[in-house]
Amino acid sequence: MAKFEVNGEYVHGDLPFLGGFTVKEYYALPDAEQERIWNEMYFAEFDDMPEVEIKPDAYISTR
C-alpha cells in the first residue's frame, strides 16, 4: 500500500478516509468539495441523538 505524506506525517494513501474517498483522493479534492463532505458529516448523527434533561442548577451564561 502506498504511503502518503501529510505535513511530515505518513499515512496510507489508499486507506478509506472521509466521504467515501481514500486519504490521497480526499487531499486532492478542491476546498469546496472537502467543505461539502464536512457539511454533510457534521450533522449526520444529529437527528439520532436524544435530548437530555439539563440539571436545574445548570451553569447559564451571563451574556
Binding site: 501529510v6 505535513n7 506525517e9 499515512v11 478516509f17 472521509l18 472537502q34 467543505e35 464536512w38 457539511n39 458529516m41 457534521y42 450533522f43 449526520a44 448523527e45 444529529f46 441523538m49 436524544p50 435530548e51 437530555v52 434533561e53 439539563i54 440539571k55 436545574p56 442548577d57 445548570a58 451553569y59 447559564i60 451564561s61 451571563t62 451574556r63
Partner: protein
C-alpha cells in the same frame, strides 16, 4: 468563564491549519489563532459529536490529537429540537439552525450547562441573518421559555462572532 461553540467551518479551518502549518491562508490562520487563544485562556470549547467523529480521521496528526483534548462535544438539551424548528422560519439553513439551537439549548457531558455564551463562525450569511433577526428571535425565545421549568426558562441567545472580531 465564557463557553464557546465552534461552527463547522471554524473547526474545519483549524484542522486544515494544523495539517499544514506552513501554508495557511487567512481563514485558517484566524481560526487557529482563536483556538490557541481560547485554550491559553482556559475557556470551555465545544464542537458537535459529529465533528469529533470527522476530526478523529485526522488524528494521525499529533496536533489534531492535541486539538481534540481541548474541546468537548456538545449534547442536545431538552427543547432543542423545538427551538431549532422555530429558528428555521427565519431563513436559517438546517445546519445553521442546529448550531444556533445548540448555542441556546446545548449542554455538556454532565448536563450542568445550558447553552453557550458565544458561537464562533466564519459564515457571514449566517451571522448577518442572526443579526437581522436577533430581536425577533429573542422575543420568540422569551415567549417559548416563559412557561418552561428551570433551567430552560432562563435560556438566552448566544452571541455570535467572527474570529476576526476577537483579534
Amino acid at each position: 468563564m465564557p463557553t464557546y461553540l465552534l461552527d463547522k467551518n471554524v473547526a474545519r479551518r483549524i484542522i486544515q491549519a494544523l495539517n499544514d502549518l506552513d501554508n495557511m491562508f487567512l481563514e485558517q490562520e484566524l481560526a487557529l489563532k482563536i483556538w490557541q487563544r481560547l485554550v491559553k485562556d482556559n475557556h470551555h470549547i465545544f464542537i458537535t459529536y459529529s465533528a469529533v467523529n470527522i476530526i478523529l480521521h485526522f488524528s494521525y496528526i499529533p496536533a489534531v490529537q492535541c486539538f481534540l483534548k481541548t474541546v468537548e462535544p456538545i449534547k442536545k438539551g431538552r427543547y432543542l429540537k423545538r427551538w431549532a424548528s422555530r429558528i428555521r422560519k427565519y431563513n436559517f439553513t438546517r445546519e445553521d439552525a442546529i448550531i444556533l439551537a445548540l448555542g441556546t439549548y446545548g449542554t455538556n457531558a454532565r448536563n450542568d450547562m445550558l447553552g453557550v455564551d458565544i458561537i464562533i463562525t466564519l459564515d457571514k450569511p449566517f451571522s448577518r441573518n442572526f443579526e437581522t433577526h436577533y430581536l425577533t428571535l429573542e422575543t420568540r425565545l422569551i415567549a417559548m421559555t416563559k412557561q418552561l421549568k428551570l433551567p430552560y426558562r432562563l435560556a438566552t441567545l448566544p452571541d455570535m462572532i467572527h474570529p476576526k472580531d476577537m483579534e
